[in-house]
């Protein structure tokens, strides 16, 4: 089913506004604001204990916010009469009664929202559990439980989907299956929010990223913007380093000659260094103008994994100071 994201301004929108949640003296979420839009996969990233699951529990009305609000489609989840028709959620795949069959588990869920057994059969088919529908869930592997949890989220064919760590415990085939499913669901116009502590996974699945640490927003950005922000200059290799460094410095480039890391060969007769302030074209043009041969010109950026580690490490060390200006404004 293809959905029209322009039906209304809040349709399919997840809005978290100045959300704070305290458990006793512990602050799990601290003034968190972000928005998730339909039609793309948004990765909800943070180290363990960053407040991802708490935020999801508050979004689903399971835990009450200490202050602030968390809205879906412009309203509170608790006010939905048949929530599964608009929001599907997978919080903890292990949280099922082992004594029930997959069919019975989905059966009571479907019945509570007025859905028939045809939907149960349809989602079991979609997640590939149709063959074990009558088997007790207690005998399921973690991967099968994840599939069952996803089936439950899809029961009401909702426009908004929340998945908490859906790839945990999956084998490579399962991980790829989830990745493709998430992308398909987003392409159908749905809002898809996936929490994870693995940047490498979100890099392959998500378009947008909401990164939090210690309950605070660190970055609300797209995967592409994050890669841009952690651009690390251009690696240049030449047999005449001294001449080229002179030329590039004159042209306004900043040259760093410290060893550039594993895999970069600096033999006798050529040397590699990193240039910032000039892009690949500018470097090539200057070198050509002075007749200096280039053996390699490679734009370098930190991997998203490194970017993520850097962002979250900064937050861990400096708390609120780790927030970027863009993130502090809360714009997307």
């Amino acid at each position: 089913m293809r959905r029209d994201p322009s039906r209304s301004t809040v349709d399919g929108m997840i809005e978290v506004h100045e959300l704070t949640k305290r458990y006793g003296g512990t602050v799990a979420v601290d003034g968190l604001s972000f928005r998730v839009r339909p039609g793309s996969v948004t990765g909800f990233l943070g180290p363990n204990g960053a407040g991802k699951s708490t935020t999801m529990r508050v979004l689903l009305g399971l835990d009450a916010a200490t202050s602030g609000e968390a809205l879906i489609d412009g309203g509170r989840y608790r006010d939905l009469r048949r929530p599964m028709l608009s929001v599907g959620a997978l919080l903890d795949a292990g949280a099922v009664h082992g004594g029930r069959s997959a069919f019975d588990h989905l059966g009571w869920l479907a019945r509570s929202n007025g859905l028939g057994t045809a939907r149960v059969a349809a989602v079991l088919e979609r997640v590939g559990l149709a063959g074990v529908a009558r088997k007790r869930v207690g005998g399921f592997s973690l991967g099968m439980r994840q599939r069952l949890g996803i089936a439950a989220a899809l029961l009401g064919d909702p426009g908004v989907l929340l998945f908490d760590e859906p790839v945990n415990g999956l084998d490579p085939d399962g991980v790829r299956w989830i990745r493709e499913l998430m992308r398909t669901l987003a392409a159908e116009g749905r809002t898809v929010l996936i929490s994870s502590h693995l940047m490498s996974e979100m890099e392959l699945t998500a378009d947008q990223l909401v990164i939090i640490g210690r309950g605070r927003l660190i970055a609300d950005t797209s995967v592409r913007e994050l890669a841009e922000r952690f651009r690390r200059g251009v690696l240049v290799r030449t047999p005449r380093p001294a001449d080229l460094i002179g030329v590039l410095t004159t042209a306004g480039g900043i040259v760093d000659t410290t060893p550039v890391g594993v895999g970069v060969r600096t033999d006798a007769g050529n040397a590699a260094f990193t240039v910032t302030g000039l892009d690949v074209t500018q470097i090539g043009d200057r070198a050509a103008a002075h007749g200096i041969p280039l053996y390699e010109v490679t734009p370098r950026s930190a991997s998203l994994e490194e970017a993520y580690m850097e962002l979250t490490a900064a937050d861990t060390e400096y708390g609120a100071l780790g927030r970027t200006p863009a993130a502090a404004r809360g714009d997307a």
Binding site: A64, M84, L91, A95, V96, G99, W108, L109, G114
Partner: protein, 258 residues
């Protein structure tokens, strides 16, 4: 509400613990039949003088012991297993109106144990009638029609124990804690109160849940003065137990994070 009731009923009937509890009730009904059969043979072998003074437990005696325990276990597990597995989050995500969800759960638990209690007690009465027949044993002389009130009152007590355990379970969120609390109230407290001096032992005993069924309706073989409470007052006390347990449970269920 109809959808939520149907959903909770499906949830309750699709786990083995429910079948085990109902199976236990059935096993104790069988025990009632065995007891009647044994008693018939024993009675028939007695001399007429000894028959005149013989006393025996009623046909439903095994069930009188088992039903409150079965009700407690089923009521407790119906709510605490959701907290133990974490499935409560799926339930509340499916039905965020917590008052409705709590009421639907309580309704199916109460109705199932009321049904199990009434059906098994009635069956025990019929079994006693069929096996022992017209032998003039005191506990078997009450006509079936007169036993109906006791069948109903004990069915109510069974449902009450299930609902009290359910309410306590919503507060405690622990299966072991809930079942031990209820069994202490139902089984341990009555003999302990008997140790109290004078009228206080009797007065406190009279308002314990386990003593209420026989004060609500005369049990077969019991003396007419089985307790100080009138049937209406006894029934009111039982309802008060249910109301307090469900009230505390609902408050906890609706207000606390899950």
């Amino acid at each position: 509400m109809v959808d939520v009731l149907a959903s909770e009923w499906r949830k309750l009937r699709s786990v083995r613990s429910t079948l085990y509890v109902l199976g236990t009730v059935a096993a104790f009904l069988l025990l009632c039949a065995l007891w009647c059969w044994y008693l018939r043979g024993y009675w028939d072998g007695l001399t007429p003088e000894r028959q005149a003074h013989a006393k025996a437990a009623a046909a439903a005696q095994p069930l009188l012991l088992a039903l409150p325990v079965c009700g407690t276990v089923l009521g407790a597990v119906a709510i605490t297993s959701e907290y133990a597995t974490g499935m409560i989050r799926a339930s509340l995500a499916a039905v965020p109106r917590r008052g409705t969800l709590f009421a639907a759960k309580a309704a199916v638990v109460g109705a199932l144990m009321l049904g199990a209690g009434v059906v098994s007690m009635a069956a025990a009465a019929l079994v006693g009638e069929a096996i022992v027949g017209k032998r003039p044993i005191p506990a078997f002389e009450m006509p079936l029609a007169d036993q109906a009130a006791h069948v109903l009152s004990f069915g109510l007590l069974t449902a009450a124990t299930a609902l009290m355990a359910f309410g306590a379970g919503a507060v405690l969120r622990s299966t072991a804690g809930t079942i031990s609390t209820l069994l202490a109230l139902l089984l341990v407290l009555p003999p302990v109160l008997n140790l109290l001096p004078g009228p206080w032992g009797d007065r406190l005993w009279a308002v314990l849940p386990a003593s209420l069924a026989e004060q609500m309706a005369l049990a077969p073989g019991a003396s007419p003065d089985s307790g100080p409470l009138s049937p209406a007052v006894a029934c009111g006390v039982l309802v008060a137990y249910i109301a307090v347990a469900l009230g505390a449970g609902a408050f906890s269920f609706i207000r606390r994070d899950s």
